[in-house]
Symmetry: C2
């Protein structure tokens, strides 16, 4: 925000800008409590509603979050770094040079629910998979948690005519997971496409991911192709945007 705009700003925006600058400068770190409504009223000589609006701006921007009865805190952004292209990401040239320093380190994603069904794929998925109308897909729905917090909903569609009766149609797919089983069936993925969007969550997504207000979701639609060009999986993922950084490394 350039200084020449300051005069035109409503008071609550000026206070919000000041708090934002303090967070960006590190004066309030992740997890720190921001000044409360009473503090802001006293310091800036404003009404409670103005102080509340200022804190609301930071929450809407995802910089801070309210904790019931405790105040408003700087969001603790310890992102999960999801590397789309492992093969390239591992090379030395990119090591340790990240805009958003991030490290999942010893923290581990765990699956806390698995549901496997056979059902007709949604029209958009069926079209990508080349399934006829009403044709069945094996559908694997999983939720992933990190430190007990749900972070990812994954719905994986696989062609029923390939995977029915195999471990892929069971909750536990065995060592190496679905892709290892697909390889054993002669349909190992050799090429991937990932499509990424973002939007506000539906009410159900917000509940299942335990999202605070003002946090969007990132959508990844991943399509896996085997050596013949057959689509062997479409995986629709819904991610808590406040904990994920997606990374893609590639050559010119």
């Amino acid at each position: 925000m350039s200084s020449r705009e300051t005069g035109r700003q409503p008071k609550y925006q000026r206070i919000a800008a000041e708090l934002r600058a303090a967070v960006e400068a590190g004066r309030y770190g992740p997890g720190d409590r921001l000044p409360g409504e009473n503090d802001l009223m006293a310091e800036h000589g404003v009404a409670r509603m103005t102080a509340r609006q200022a804190l609301g701006v930071l929450q809407a921007e995802g910089i801070a979050e309210a904790r019931k009865g405790a105040g408003v805190f700087v969001r603790d952004f310890r992102p999960i770094r999801r590397r789309g292209i492992e093969r390239l990401a591992r090379t030395q040239w990119a090591e340790g040079r990240s805009i958003w320093s991030a490290d999942i380190g010893d923290r581990e994603l765990a699956v806390d629910s698995v549901e496997v069904t056979e059902e007709p794929a949604p029209a958009a998925v069926a079209a990508v998979m080349g399934l006829g109308e009403g044709a069945s897909a094996c559908v694997r729905r999983r939720r992933f948690v990190l430190d007990g917090k749900p972070v990812l909903l994954s719905t994986s569609y696989l062609p029923a005519d390939i995977v029915a009766g195999t471990p892929i149609a069971q909750p536990e797919t065995g060592p190496g997971g679905t892709y290892a089983r697909l390889a054993e069936l002669g349909h190992g993925p050799v090429r991937f496409r990932e499509e990424i969007r973002s939007r506000m969550p539906s009410r159900e997504e917000a509940e299942r991911l335990a999202l605070p207000a003002g946090v969007p979701v990132v959508l990844i639609a991943r399509t896996a192709f085997d050596a013949e060009g057959l689509v062997v999986e479409v995986n629709e993922m819904v991610l808590d945007s406040s904990v994920y950084v997606l990374e893609y490394d590639f050559e010119a």
Copy 2:
């Protein structure tokens, strides 16, 4: 939403779910007007506030948008497909083509503002670029519009000691753009890293991208490396999430 949850839902959520299902089934297409408050009141026997809340849910989810005095319409999502990998392939810029031309087929992204300065890079950018404290970067700030609508804010940082006095420090960089000029200076990019996040926009971003309420932004931080592993550009992009699909294709 499974049917067994329906009984616990507030009425406005049930109406919202019905409208959402109708949009997903294509009964209301992009740009179509949804039933208004009066229609919903009559059809469902609910109060105006309930009808308004139901329509509010779809707007918060980014499915629909209100147009003043005209009603609530299904958002016209004609996404810009941004291909991360193919887009940056050397043949594109090495032959004098803009790297953006791969984005959108027959629709054209245009730059509607360019500002070039020399200033100290922010700390996170300076760290990635290996710049000492207070060292200068050439900063190119651009806004891109599609059909008159701003869709992308781009802030590109380049090492001042390489680009000062070259066309890169001018608003117009010439055929092939910044990357072609870097190549002529012996620092053509050969590898890229893209890091992707999403969050709600700041007030300034919402204004500059003319975002309706409830639309998040996608952030892309792109780092370009030359053949020696030197970081020759960091580009921080802010995208209107409602118009972009990012695509990455890669091999297993």
